[in-house]
């Protein structure tokens, strides 16, 4: 069972109170972008065994979207953070580095 702390209401929400929103920190490529960028934006996703960043929504709760950093293999949660950011905050990255030295995910490490 996955339990994530919603950064907006502080509830330690069990997975069934949440809705998974897919990969985090996607950069949108829309009209006018190259075919490659557009294809990457639409279809290409990470599928890591280990550190992963995702979007979640506290759907049966305060209703807000937020970010979560977790390990797909152990279900360990490194932390959750605001949706109003384009990259994981430093304290979360530091926490991951302490537990998974040498990790990388897209262009973050």
């Amino acid at each position: 069972m996955l339990i994530l702390e919603c950064p907006y209401c502080g509830v330690h929400a069990e997975e069934t109170e949440l809705h998974a929103g897919g990969e985090a920190h996607l950069k949108r490529f829309g009209p006018g972008s190259s075919d490659d960028d557009f294809e990457n934006y639409l279809f290409m996703r990470e599928n890591p065994k280990g550190v992963h960043f995702e979007r979640w929504r506290h759907v049966n709760g305060c209703g807000k979207w937020f970010h979560a950093a977790r390990c797909t293999m152990t279900l360990e949660v490194f932390g959750t953070y605001s949706a109003q950011t384009t990259e994981p905050p430093k304290d979360i990255c530091d926490k991951i580095s302490a537990k998974r030295p040498g990790w990388s995910w897209r262009n973050f490490s």
Partner: protein, 186 residues
Amino acid sequence: MSNAVTALNGAKSTGYVTVKEAPLTGMITLRGTFASKGFAKMVKSVFGTDIPEQRKVSKGPEATVLWMSPDELMVVCDYAAAQDLVAKATAQLGDEHALVVNVSDARAVFTLSGAQLREVIAKEAPVDMSQFEMGEVRRTRFAQIAAAFWLEAEDHARIICFRSFAEYMFNLLKNASQPGYEVGGW
């Protein structure tokens, strides 16, 4: 003026916890920037209480204010007073970027009474009821539907859900509280 009725005409079940559909209840959704002076002032002067802290309930003389999200409050008040309060709040907000809506007829309200009500809630919602405190409000799900609840006393809880789910909610609570199905958690 139409004759307003509740969804289930005050349905009641007396199991090991008593489940009742509450009489017509006034409910007002407020959305706005809590940090904005104008918004906070309006809440204070119209509803007689401060904006509650995160996940808390604050009580004025004629209204209870529930913290629903970082930009949403729910006011619970007398059914007949709701429309008036909405008008007052709207007028006072002026140009403030905010929303005030009377949702009284869009929601159903249930009460649970009995010493073991924490157990009945724990059967339906993924909430650690051993940690749940008086003065706290929790939005969650009851089985498959969204709901919010808070305790008015140790043996008295109030639950709000969408009106269209009233029958589902009532049957759910009735089933969970039927005599002989006590777990003995509380």
